[in-house]
C-alpha cells in the first residue's frame, strides 16, 4: 500500500501566524468563507480542521493514517479513515462548499482524478503543494545532477511518498485540462511568508516555495 505521509513542512512549520497556526494553513483557511461546509482531504492530525472550526466552519476530514484519524476523532473532529485516490468517489456532487487538499496532491496516485473529484464534490477546491519549480530545486537537478532534497522535501527518491511533484506552472496546466478556474493563487516564500508582490507567474514559479490555489469549476 502506498504510504501517504505528508512531506515535512519543516520551514513552514517554523513560520507560525498569530494564532500559532502554520502560515500555509492560515492562507488556506483565509480562502474559506465563514460558515461554509468543508472537506479536508488528507487532514493529518486535524490542525486545519481545528483552525476552521474556530471560524465557524462545518468541517469534515479524510485521513489515511490510522493514528491521524484516531487523534482527530478523539479531538471531536468528524474524520473518516480513507484514501483520496479511492474514496472521493463515494461523495455525492456538491456535498461541500470547499474541498481542501493541503500538501497532499504530490502524494496521490492520480492527481488529475483527485482534483476533478474535488471540483465535483465541492463548489470550490483549495490545493496547496510544494513548488517543484523553485530555483533551489532546479539548481540541485541542473548542477548537482540528483533528485532534489530540501528541508521541506527531505526524502531520498527511493523512499519518498511524494510521487507526483509539480511546479506552479505544471499545476496551472492541470487546472486548464481539468477545466478548473483559478480564483486566487498565493505563493509562499522560503520562510513560509506570503509573497505579497504582484508578480508574473514565471517569478512565482521560480521563487515560490509553496503555492495555494483556490479553484472553482470552469464553465
Amino acid at each position: 500500500m502506498l504510504m501517504r505521509v505528508k512531506h515535512d513542512l519543516t520551514m513552514a512549520e517554523a513560520a507560525r501566524g498569530a494564532g500559532g497556526s502554520r502560515v500555509d494553513l492560515i492562507v488556506v483557511a483565509d480562502m474559506v468563507e465563514p460558515g461554509a461546509r468543508v472537506l479536508d482531504v488528507g487532514c493529518g492530525d486535524g490542525e486545519l480542521l481545528r483552525l476552521l472550526e474556530t471560524r465557524g466552519v462545518d468541517g469534515r476530514g479524510i485521513e489515511l493514517s490510522r493514528e491521524g484519524v484516531n487523534e482527530c476523532v478523539a479531538k471531536g473532529l468528524a474524520v473518516v479513515q480513507g484514501d483520496a485516490d479511492t474514496d472521493l468517489g463515494d461523495y455525492p456532487d456538491d456535498a461541500f462548499d470547499f474541498v481542501i487538499l493541503s500538501q497532499t496532491l504530490q502524494a496521490t496516485r492520480q492527481p488529475r482524478v483527485v482534483l476533478e473529484h474535488m471540483l465535483r464534490i465541492g463548489q470550490h477546491a483549495i490545493v496547496s503543494f510544494p513548488n517543484f519549480g523553485h530555483w533551489r530545486i532546479r539548481r540541485q537537478i541542473a548542477f548537482g545532477g540528483h533528485m532534489p532534497r530540501t528541508e521541506n522535501l527531505p526524502y531520498a527518491w527511493y523512499e519518498t511518498p511524494n510521487i507526483h511533484f509539480c511546479s506552479i506552472k505544471d499545476f496551472r496546466l492541470l487546472c486548464q485540462v481539468s477545466g478548473a478556474k483559478i480564483e486566487e493563487a498565493v505563493a509562499l516564500n522560503a520562510w513560509g511568508g506570503r509573497m505579497r508582490l504582484k508578480m508574473p507567474w514565471w517569478f512565482w514559479n521560480l521563487f515560490g516555495e509553496q503555492a495555494v490555489f483556490l479553484l472553482s469549476r470552469g464553465r
Binding site: V73, A74, G82
Partner: protein, 396 residues
C-alpha cells in the same frame, strides 16, 4: 460432555424473565408493540437499568443497546451470575460514557430473557411461557419498543445511542427510524445487514439448540427439561466467531489443560477446548435457549437497505445525527468493510460522520474489552457532541 450437566436453577431464570431485578415498564394490551411481522403485540414489558441522573433539560440521556447475549445489566453485577456488568470498561463514573455526566439507560431487548417480554415470559393467555408462540421479532421491533420506553420516561431526544454488534444494529436502526430523537450515534463493530456467513453461523447455533432432545419443540419449561447441551454447543461455536485466530493462539496456543500429554481420548485435552466448554456451561446458566433462537433470527433479518429502496444512504438522507463508526482490525464477524459501507452510505447522505478502525487482535469481542484507543475515541466523540449539544463540561 458430562460436565455440561452442571446445576442451574431453571426457576431462577424463569422468575427473572417475568419479575426481573430491574426497573420495569408494562404496556397494556391497549398500547401494543406494532411488530414487523404484522402483529400488534401486547401486553408486554420492558426491563431496563439506568445509571447517572437525567438533567433538568432532559438533554443528557444516552441509550446503551446490548448485543445478542447481553442484557440491561451493563454497569452493575449480574443478578444471576454475580459477574460485573458487561460494559463497565466503557460506561460508568469518569468512563468514556460518563455516568457523572450522562443519564444512561440500558433496556433488555424485546425477545430477550432478562425481563423484557420474550419467549421465556409467561403468556397471559395460557399462563405458560410463550416458547415458540412468541412472535418473531426484528431489530426494528426492538428499537420501536425502546422508543416506547423513552416516551414513558419523558425523554424526547437522546444525546447519544451507543452499542456494539447487535447493539450497533439497533443504533443504526435508531438513527434511521428516529433521526430527530438521536443527536449522536455510535455504532461499534456493526453492519447495515447480516452477511450470509453470519446467517450461516447463526443457523448452526439454532440447529444445535433444536437438535437437543431436551428442547422439546421449544416447550422445555412446560416439560421440565432444559436444552442445555444444545445451547452450550451453539454458544461454543458462536464464541469462536467473537475471537480471532491470533487471540486464540495468544491465549491458548496448543497448550494442554492440566496435563502434560494427550490422553488419547475425547476429554478436553487442550486449553482451548476446556475454555470453550466453560463458555458453554456458564452461558446456559443465564440464557434462554428460545431467546437465542429469536434474537439470532432478528439479527439475520436485519437489512437496513431493504427497508429503504435498496440503498442504505436513503435511510440517512438529511439526517441531523452525527455518527462515529468504529471497527476492529481482527473482527471477522463484522469486518471493517461492513463499517466502511456504513460510512460510505452516511457520506452519500451528507451526514456528519467519523470513522476509526482500531488495531487489535481481540476480534469482534474487542468492543467489550480493555481497548484504550476505543475509549479515547468514544470519549472524544462524545466530548465534541456534548459541546455542540450545550451540555456542561465534565466536572473532573
Amino acid at each position: 460432555m458430562a460436565e455440561l450437566g452442571a446445576t442451574l436453577d431453571l426457576a431462577d431464570r424463569k422468575r427473572e424473565a417475568d419479575h426481573p431485578h430491574s426497573l420495569i415498564v408494562r404496556f397494556s394490551a391497549g398500547s401494543p408493540l406494532r411488530l414487523d411481522a404484522g402483529i400488534d403485540f401486547g401486553p408486554f414489558q420492558i426491563a431496563y437499568q439506568t445509571y447517572g441522573r437525567l438533567n433538568a433539560e432532559r438533554s443528557n440521556a444516552v441509550l446503551v443497546c446490548h448485543a445478542l447475549t447481553g442484557d440491561q445489566h451493563a454497569v452493575n453485577d449480574h443478578p444471576l451470575t454475580g459477574k460485573p456488568g458487561w460494559w463497565e470498561t466503557l460506561v460508568g463514573p469518569g468512563r468514556p460514557i460518563d455516568t457523572d455526566r450522562y443519564f444512561v439507560i440500558c433496556p433488555n431487548v424485546v425477545g430477550g430473557c432478562m425481563g423484557s417480554s420474550g419467549p421465556a415470559s409467561t403468556n397471559p393467555v395460557t399462563g405458560m411461557p410463550y416458547g415458540l408462540d412468541f412472535p418473531v421479532i426484528t431489530v426494528r421491533d426492538m428499537v420501536r419498543a425502546q422508543a416506547m420506553l423513552l416516551d414513558y420516561l419523558g425523554i424526547d431526544s437522546l444525546f447519544a445511542v451507543a452499542g456494539g454488534s447487535m447493539g450497533g444494529m439497533q443504533v443504526l436502526q435508531w438513527a434511521a427510524s428516529y433521526p430527530q430523537r438521536v443527536f449522536a450515534a455510535l455504532p461499534i463493530a456493526a453492519a447495515t445487514r447480516h452477511s450470509a456467513q453470519n446467517i450461516a453461523f447463526h443457523e448452526v447455533g439454532r440447529q444445535a439448540v433444536m437438535a437437543d432432545p431436551d428442547w422439546r419443540g421449544g416447550r422445555y419449561f412446560a416439560e421440565g427439561t432444559n436444552p442445555r447441551r444444545g445451547l452450550a454447543v451453539a454458544r461454543m461455536g458462536a464464541h469462536i466467531t467473537y475471537l480471532s485466530d491470533a487471540a486464540l493462539h495468544r491465549k491458548f496456543g496448543r497448550r494442554f489443560q492440566d496435563r502434560d500429554n494427550p490422553t488419547f481420548s475425547f476429554d478436553a485435552d487442550f486449553q482451548v477446548e476446556s475454555y470453550l466448554r466453560h463458555q458453554g456451561i456458564t452461558f446456559v446458566e443465564r440464557f434462554d435457549a428460545n431467546s437465542y433462537l429469536y434474537l439470532t433470527r432478528a439479527m439475520d433479518y436485519f437489512d437496513l437497505a431493504a427497508d429503504y429502496d435498496g440503498a442504505v444512504a436513503n435511510a440517512f438522507r438529511g439526517t441531523p445525527t452525527r455518527f462515529c463508526v468504529i471497527s476492529f482490525t481482527s473482527d471477522w464477524l463484522f469486518p471493517t468493510p461492513e463499517s466502511r459501507a456504513v460510512v460510505h452510505a452516511l457520506n452519500a447522505a451528507g451526514a456528519r460522520v467519523s470513522f476509526a478502525e482500531i488495531t487489535t487482535d481481540k476480534g469482534h469481542d474487542a468492543f467489550l474489552l480493555d481497548e484504550p484507543e476505543l475509549f479515547a475515541i468514544v470519549r472524544g466523540f462524545l466530548e465534541g457532541a456534548a459541546r455542540s449539544r450545550g451540555l456542561p463540561p465534565a466536572r473532573r
